[in-house]
């Protein structure tokens, strides 16, 4: 009886990686990662610098092709798909280094991010304003990320924190079910980080979140489960309490942090 819920949880995993490997020439960056993120979970990946966290994200999101292994999104393999097809299947990501459309207005940035998912696709025969739902949702996303007042400015002139917020706005605009955030609070002040965490908590409601983060207070406050990546391998995976108590983790990672 107790096996059934466990089995169901695995079956509906939003994101799954099996035996994932990535080599850059002779350098092995990801060496056999197994990762399961059930639907609706907030899952954090932590690890020291150079552990391969961003590479893992790049593999999952389709920016890089894995050398070996499999990635499944809602049960379907996506490891051979290009990034845009993975995105269309409901996975959206943000970038560690701000990656926006600098000359487009803030409004355009968010609107462009939802055109595919609202079914506009490559349409060149109807106005982008023909569907009032798009303007409505753009407005909604902009108010979520608190950028309404800046909507007509080119994204390139926003402050760093505003660009980070826009980055999250672009990531969530398409309504993806699985969201990957790569160090969303990097370089932010304490107050900005708090606002960003509140935002991430709101937008990940009812969705699956995979997040790379260096700020331990963010990680332990936000994540349902945590995986620890060290030198391309996941050395531990569990609830925040389990990770805190894991001696291997303390030695490899948290111990260093404590200094």
């Amino acid at each position: 009886m107790s096996a059934l819920p466990e089995e169901r949880r695995v079956r509906v995993a939003a994101l799954e990686a099996r035996g994932l490997r990535k080599n850059f020439g002779p350098a092995e960056i990801i060496r056999g990662v197994d990762l399961t993120v059930p639907k609706g979970e907030r899952h954090a990946v932590i690890g020291p610098n150079g552990a391969g966290k961003s590479t893992l994200f790049n593999l999952i999101s389709g920016l890089l092709l894995p050398t070996a292994g499999e990635i499944r999104l809602d049960g379907a393999p996506v490891n051979a798909l290009p990034a845009y097809k993975i995105n269309r299947r409901g996975l959206s990501r943000s970038f560690q280094v701000t990656n926006i459309f600098p000359k487009l207005s803030v409004w355009e940035n968010v609107r462009c991010a939802m055109l595919w998912s609202t079914g506009e696709k490559y349409a060149f025969w109807r106005s982008v304003e023909a569907n009032p739902e798009i303007a409505q949702r753009t407005q909604q996303v902009l108010s979520e990320i608190n950028l309404i007042a800046r909507k007509d400015l080119p994204a390139g002139v926003l402050t760093y924190a505003e660009q980070r917020a826009l980055e999250i706005g672009i990531t969530m605009a398409g309504g993806a079910n699985v969201i990957l955030l790569d160090e969303p609070t990097a370089g932010m002040s304490h107050a900005e980080t708090e606002r960003a965490v509140a935002l991430i908590r709101r937008i990940s409601e009812g969705r699956t979140l995979l997040i790379v983060e260096h700020d331990m207070s963010v990680v332990f406050g936000l994540a349902d489960r945590i995986s620890v990546l060290v030198y391309g391998e996941i050395i531990a995976s569990g609830t925040p309490a389990e990770i805190r108590g894991n001696p291997k983790v303390r030695e490899a990672y948290l111990g260093e942090e404590a200094h």
Partner: protein, 435 residues
């Protein structure tokens, strides 16, 4: 620098609000302008030039669908222009021979279709790449088509090209398109239609994604778009409008020849687009009008007009990368803040030393040309009605003084312009019109 960016942002916002207030007013005004121009410029030369401008506007706007909208630098856009011209000429000749009831008005469609068809064909290959690789492929394809046009004589007519007679088609309203004025109106109608369609295109989901791909093609992939497909569609539609422009050119000249494919043609459209300003929709229109005018007027005045043309291009690239449209749009917030008049005064002061430098430079260039290229004609030359000896030390000294004194004064005036600009920006910023 950040000032300039901010200004641009504010103008974009203003443009959209203007677009919302008067979406039809602009188009009606443009239509009236095109209809009324021949009433002001009546001479044959003027009509011919207006016709050429109309063609150049369509061609430059189609080029900017690639360069300005999608961020694709093409060195071979004349391919689609030239093919459009050839297919239109053949379509007209075929319709005459087969006595088909097709009016001349529709013949640019044959050019547009040809442009689209070959853009699909060549774009399938070239838009797989972006940036430098795309530019190189476009150059290679241009060479390929250019040399084919001399080899495949039955279609391209060799060096002489293929001629036609635009007056022999089905007549509507008793227009035979013999007089240039009728051809002008044909071109003007197609020009207005093409401008409207290309503008509308920028307001579609696809048009918005062209800009997104231009800005950051990697990010575009992570919002669900394949940048290759966006580039491909942009390339096809751009080829179609270039083909329409080519079709109109062939109707205007009653001829299609291999010069239409030349690198000069591809280069000119790049120059016109860049000088006008690739960052704004109206930029290529301004550029096409200016470049067409200069090409026709300068070539009458001086033999080295291409040199001046090149200097103008270099000056644009270095000092006004936003082109004419960029320069104008920069002043939008200042104008709305009511601070433009003082700034214009500073510009007027700067204009004097710049004019001195320009006269000095023209003098040097023309004297060198006269002594070098036209050595056989002796050393006596004439400029602005004054006859003088190109070897005289007086002329060279005058040119040098103009250059040096003008340059020095321009530096001084430039500081005043910069200060005036900062003040005007400050006013605009206080009124919240820019950041």
């Amino acid at each position: 620098m950040s000032d300039a960016i901010a200004t641009r942002g504010a103008t974009t916002a203003a443009q959209t609000s203007i677009g919302r207030v008067a979406p039809w007013g602009v188009w009606i005004a443009a239509g009236l302008l095109l209809a009324g121009l021949p009433l002001v410029f009546r001479s044959g030369t003027a009509l011919t030039m207006l016709s050429l401008m109309g063609i150049a506007i369509i061609f430059a706007l189609s080029y900017n669908m690639l360069l300005g909208q999608t961020g694709m630098l093409s060195f071979g856009h004349a391919v689609y222009y030239g093919l459009g011209a050839y297919f239109s000429v053949h379509a007209i000749n075929w319709a005459i021979a087969a006595k088909l009831p097709i009016p001349l008005l529709l013949m640019p469609l044959a050019g547009g279709f040809a442009g689209l068809l070959f853009a699909v064909l060549f774009g399938w290959v070239s838009t797989k790449r972006s940036g430098t690789a795309f530019a190189m492929i476009s150059l290679g394809l241009a060479e390929l088509v250019g040399s084919s046009s001399l080899i495949l004589r039955s279609f391209f007519g060799g060096e002489e090209g293929v001629t036609t007679n635009r007056t022999k088609l089905l007549r509507l309203f008793d227009w035979n398109f013999g007089p240039q004025i009728q051809v002008y109106y044909l071109i003007a109608a197609w020009c207005l239609l093409s401008i409207a369609l290309m503008y509308a295109l920028t307001r579609t989901p696809f048009g918005r994604m062209c800009n997104a791909v231009r800005d950051n093609s990697e990010r575009a992939q992570f919002v669900g778009y394949n940048p290759q497909v966006v580039r491909f569609i942009a390339f096809c539609l751009s080829g179609m409008f270039a083909g329409i422009a080519g079709g109109l050119a062939s109707i205007n000249f009653e001829l299609a020849n291999s010069a239409l494919f030349s690198a000069v043609q591809s280069g000119n459209v790049l120059l016109a687009t860049f000088i006008g300003g690739a960052g704004h929709f109206v930029g290529p229109i301004l550029g096409a009008v200016l470049v067409t005018y200069l090409q026709n007027m300068l070539s009458d005045v001086t033999e080295v007009w291409q040199l001046y043309f090149g200097l103008m291009f270099i000056a644009t690239v270095m000092y006004a990368p936003g082109g004419l449209a960029g320069l104008i749009m920069m002043h939008g917030p200042i104008w709305r803040a009511g601070a433009l008049s003082k700034l214009l005064l500073a510009y007027a002061v700067l204009l004097v030393p710049i004019a001195l430098v320009a006269v000095g430079a023209v003098l040097v260039i023309e004297m060198m040309t006269h002594l070098g290229v036209k050595a056989a004609e002796g050393t006596t030359m004439k400029m602005a009605g004054i006859t003088f000896d190109a070897r005289s030390w007086l002329a060279w000294a005058l040119a040098l003084i103009l250059l040096l004194a003008g340059g020095g004064l321009a530096r001084l005036a430039w500081h005043r312009v910069a200060a005036a600009w900062d003040r005007a920006q400050g006013v605009a910023r206080e009124k919240g019109l820019t950041i």
